[in-house]
């Protein structure tokens, strides 16, 4: 069990606020933290990794105490065995891909294994500036897990990538998570991502936990009677007579939907939307057979 309790004063755009929360995680679980920017998401990751010290609180990982304001315990980041994946990747520009990984461990065989796992062997001797964002992200991910951390912390890992690459990296992330049974915290403002990856989602607003539970519960609270629902991103909206036609990307597919004028007021291009339907009579057949 991993238990975090912390209080920390933050300076938000509209003045000071308190990040004040308590979370417990099961070992080996993958939990998402979502919420608007400035809610304190990144601060939680930095406190867990020891890069900043809360005003008060306690961090316990298994039977190790990492931080306790009462007992005056505060392990340095070097002692905490965390893998932190930074939003801007934070790859060392003066080291090759392989050197970036070897910087974290002396175990060359494990480095080789990881490079193979994220399919980067061919790029092992390249410098980060010659890589695409998706490749950089895979290097950063491999580097974050190379020491087999007790806690893997991911800060907006897939923002800034195109949807296809994002999808691919999500799969990679799940693969690494399962392979090494890493307890993982994923910070993301992308609902679709959190839904796809996480067993449990915590929603943070102004430093407080406002929701905590099963991903579906979180969005679906008032709409549990829906037979089918998806999360997607609005790609395009155009007017058609008195209504609007919206194109929504759900996974790899594009779906066209009708929006009323009222819907249009609340929904815009680029927004994450929940699509639900009650009257649904789906046909289920093996792939390949005609519908």
């Amino acid at each position: 069990m991993i238990a975090l309790e912390m209080r920390k004063e933050l300076v938000a755009a509209d003045g000071p606020m308190w990040l004040d929360l308590a979370i417990e995680l099961k070992e080996g679980s993958l939990i998402g933290i979502t919420g608007p920017s400035g809610a304190g998401k990144t601060t939680i990751l930095r406190a867990l990794s020891g890069l900043l010290t809360p005003e008060s609180g306690r961090i316990r990982v298994g039977d190790e105490l990492w931080y306790s304001s009462d007992l005056g315990v505060n392990l340095r980041p070097q002692q905490r065995e965390v893998g932190l994946l930074f939003q801007d990747y934070a790859l060392f520009p003066h080291m090759t891909v392989r050197q970036n990984l070897e910087f974290a461990t002396r175990d060359r065989r494990h480095v080789d294994e990881l490079l193979a796992l994220v399919e980067l062997e061919a790029l092992a001797d390249r410098f980060p500036e010659t890589l695409s964002n998706g490749q950089k992200q895979r290097v950063a991910l491999a580097r974050a897990v190379v020491r087999r951390p007790k806690l893997l912390l991911l800060d907006e890992p897939l923002s800034g990538l195109d949807p296809q690459m994002r999808r691919r990296l999500q799969d990679e992330l799940l693969r690494l998570h399962r392979r090494f049974e890493l307890t993982t915290i994923l910070v993301s403002h992308d609902l679709a991502e959190v839904f796809r990856l996480c067993e449990r989602v915590v929603r943070l607003e102004r430093g407080m936990i406002v929701a905590d539970g099963d991903p579906w519960q979180l969005v679906d609270e008032h709409e549990t009677s829906h037979k089918f629902s998806f999360i997607g991103e609005v790609v395009d909206i155009r007017p058609a007579d008195v209504v609007f036609l919206a194109v929504v990307a759900v996974g790899q597919q594009l779906i066209e939907l009708v929006l009323t004028a009222d819907d249009r007021l609340r929904i815009d291009v680029g927004q994450q939307v929940l699509i639900g339907s009650k009257a649904f009579n789906p046909v289920v057949k093996p792939v390949g057979e005609p519908l």
Binding site: R46, S49, G50, L51, R76, P77, Q78, R80, V82, G83, L84, F86, D88, A90, F92, P93, H94, F103, A104, R143, R147
Partner: protein, 224 residues
């Protein structure tokens, strides 16, 4: 005019500037790193002390050095008494004077370069298990190398041109402490203009060459 005095003086200048720059490199990098990375009490005071020679007239610096390191000085007395070392009227005095006036240039330039290194990279090195010192040598210094190099160039240039503090502490002894700038002063004061001329031309050429080298290798990476 290209006599033994001339070559001795040139050799002495280079020797003093090189030793002083070596000391500046070690102490300056250490201090800059300390200032940039570690919070401690009295940081501002120490920074002030290190920087002061940059704004003080060199003769004032020289005076303080005499007070501290002269034969009757606070430190100098004990150096002489216990180790038999005296920096006054010795080329090591010229090194000390150059060191003190060149140090702030190194510290200021290097500190700025170290502080410009992306703090996330340093944080990443910490979470990957590396101590502050290891991180300094494997991440911060390599990434700030151009700034560190620029600091060294400035320090060397300042050291080779040092005059006032050197004159005060080490004196102007031909063949012993008379570096190029001091020899230029002596030659001009005694009206040996052709000699002065030769010294000036060589020192100017030397400085220009050095500056060209610095521009060549100390350029920021985006302009290659």
């Amino acid at each position: 005019m290209w006599d033994a005095d001339f070559t001795t003086s040139l050799r002495l200048s280079i020797q003093v500037a090189c030793v002083a720059t070596l000391l500046v490199a070690v102490v300056g990098l250490g201090l800059a790193w300390l200032f940039a990375t570690i919070p401690f009490r009295g940081k501002e005071l120490l920074d002030l002390l290190v920087t002061l020679p940059l704004v003080l007239p060199p003769t004032v610096v020289g005076y303080y050095l005499i007070v501290l390191f002269g034969r009757e000085g606070v430190i100098g007395f004990w150096l002489d008494h216990w180790l038999g070392i005296s920096v006054t009227f010795h080329w090591s005095g010229a090194v000390l004077a150059s060191f003190v006036v060149a140090l702030p240039l190194m510290v200021k330039t290097t500190r700025a370069a170290l502080e410009a290194v992306d703090s996330n990279l340093i944080a990443a090195a910490y979470t990957l298990g590396h101590s502050r010192l290891e991180t300094a040598f494997r991440v911060t210094f390599p990434l700030a190398r151009r700034g560190i190099f620029a600091g060294l160039v400035l320090a060397f240039a300042r050291a080779i041109g040092e005059f006032g503090a050197t004159l005060m502490l080490a004196g102007n002894i031909p063949g012993k402490t008379a570096t190029m700038p001091l020899s230029i002063f002596s030659a001009a004061a005694s009206g040996e203009w052709s000699r002065t001329h030769a010294y000036v031309v060589v020192l100017t050429a030397f400085s220009a060459l050095f500056l060209a080298l610095a521009n060549r290798y100390g350029r920021p990476p985006e302009s290659n």
